[in-house]
């Protein structure tokens, strides 16, 4: 397939014998947004450093649009825009000066530099900050400058390490919209701790834990896992468990904080039957809603499952 933008094969990175990242393989196609999740110290940033050529992998290879990062680093790096975890800003420059330098270093041709700077500023909402020293900008605006720097040369792959840290809610919304926009034509890899963010902007998710990839798939898989086959019911006069279990499809009943959580079999839709029974028996139904496991729970499950599986294997 020639529209693959990122191919990582068996990426491994050892730090003095300890593997920070081991055997991480994945690929990303044009027009995809990949969310990179993982607890602290899981190896997210290390992986991103290897993808951008800031760190040489101990084993494995990275290809950007078919160009090998190790053999042709310059060509491969020209296709990437990278915002590291620590914003690499030269604080003694103004926004305009800094972005001009970024454009020049990323081989934007002399005629287009001015235009590229204008576009990047407009996209990140920085147009009114052009002449300000980066040092004097607020945290959020500095973050925007960092993002502007990463997209200034219109790269094929944009890699953002925790891009929404330190932004206010409106800015976060803007940045998410921006990521989606870039993701339409190019590929984006975003790492984050904020799980709902992943759901909002990404169409692909990877969860990494202790240097290993524990989940790699579409966001819909994660969502399905999240919604599950559960309903949360509220009754004024709570019926007995056995009365609920008689409704076809319901397999499990659980009382929680004055509400009732019921689990139903895959493929069944007992909603209607529940409402009918409630009306007939006069239970006083006032709420019926799908019960969603929070993404946090799914995340914990996934990272925990893996650990449990490893332990089982060891035992």
């Amino acid at each position: 397939m020639d529209n693959l933008t990122v191919e990582a094969v068996d990426l491994t990175r050892l730090y003095g014998g300890r593997a920070a990242v081991s055997d991480v393989s994945f690929h990303l196609a044009k027009g995809q947004v990949l969310g990179f999740l993982g607890p602290n110290g899981a190896g997210k940033s290390t992986t991103m450093k290897m993808l951008t050529g800031n760190l040489a992998p101990s084993a494995g290879s990275v290809k950007i649009c078919g160009v090998d990062m190790i053999e042709h680093p310059k060509e491969a790096k020209a296709l990437i825009g990278y915002l590291p975890e620590m914003r690499p800003l030269y604080k003694e420059f103004t926004v305009d000066e800094y972005l001009t330098i970024a454009a020049r270093l990323h081989r934007v041709s002399g005629k287009h530099i001015k235009k590229a700077v204008e576009i990047a500023k407009a996209r990140c909402g920085l147009s009114h900050m052009s002449k300000r020293l980066i040092e004097n900008l607020s945290n959020g605006y500095q973050q925007r400058v960092g993002i502007a720097q990463a997209i200034i040369h219109n790269p094929m792959v944009v890699i953002l390490d925790e891009p929404t840290v330190g932004l206010d809610p409106i800015q976060i919304r803007d940045i998410r919209a921006l990521i989606k926009e870039i993701g339409q034509e190019h590929s984006v890899i975003v790492s984050t701790h904020i799980l709902p963010e992943v759901e909002m902007v990404c169409d692909h998710v990877q969860i990494i834990d202790k240097g290993k990839l524990v989940f790699n798939g579409g966001i819909d898989v994660l969502k399905r896992q999240r919604i599950g086959n559960k309903l949360l019911l509220g009754f004024k006069r709570t019926p007995t468990d056995s009365a609920l279990l008689q409704i076809p499809g319901i397999t499990e009943v659980e009382q929680v904080d004055g509400m009732v959580r019921v689990r139903f079999a895959e493929g069944q839709a007992p909603h209607e039957a529940i409402v009918e029974a409630a009306v007939k028996e006069g239970w006083g139904l006032y709420q019926i809603a799908p019960d969603q496991t929070s993404l946090e729970d799914v995340f914990v499950q996934l990272t925990y499952q893996e650990a449990a599986a490893v332990e089982e294997k060891a035992a």
Partner: protein
Amino acid sequence: MVFSIARKELKSMFASPMGWIILAVMMGIFGNYFANGVTNYLDVASGAIRPAERIGLTQFVSQTVYGAASFVMLFAVPLLSMRLIAEERRSQTLPFLFSAPLSITEIVLGKFSGLLGFLSILIVYIALTLSTLNLWSDIDFGYIIANSVGLFLLVASFCALGLYFSSVTTQPIVAGILSFVALFVLMMLDRFFGGDPTSIIANFSLLKHFGSFASGLIDTADVAFFLLFVITFLTLTIRRLDADRLRG
């Protein structure tokens, strides 16, 4: 690409008062030496009776100025070179350069030529100041050129060494002190070992190699020494930065 980095370095030097202050102070110092040289010349020359004692105006004034320049640069270069890489490392801006389509060689050469370009302003300034003597005297331009070339090569060696020490630490101050000490030792070697003409160690003295330029002679052996010195330290810097990428 090398040029883009050099331009960035120059820009950042002039973005802070540091660059301007160093330029101003150095120009003040050289100007003073120049003025003193001219004043003293009349006294000394009128006192010299025998022809062998008479030395030309160019040589007399230039010697003081260039002698001072080589010594003052010993302090100025570490002050400027210490931040080149150490500062970037401390403020974590190196990934900006590493993820741009640049080789490490280009980054190092760019930083080196940026600093050298900045200091060349002073070298040109000194040469121009001395050339003004031509208004009321007939001066030896060859002598000034030889001295300028010598000073340029000397400063280039200082920069290369300073750049290397800047690449080994995260603390600019540590880099500055290390390069100052190293340069000081290299300058002073011939003070201690110069007495013995067979001594190999004396050959490493930077001042000894600057000596032939100072007497108006462009000796290829000395040019080669300075070039090798520069290449050695630039290579070491490149290797040091490469190790960052490999070892993390």
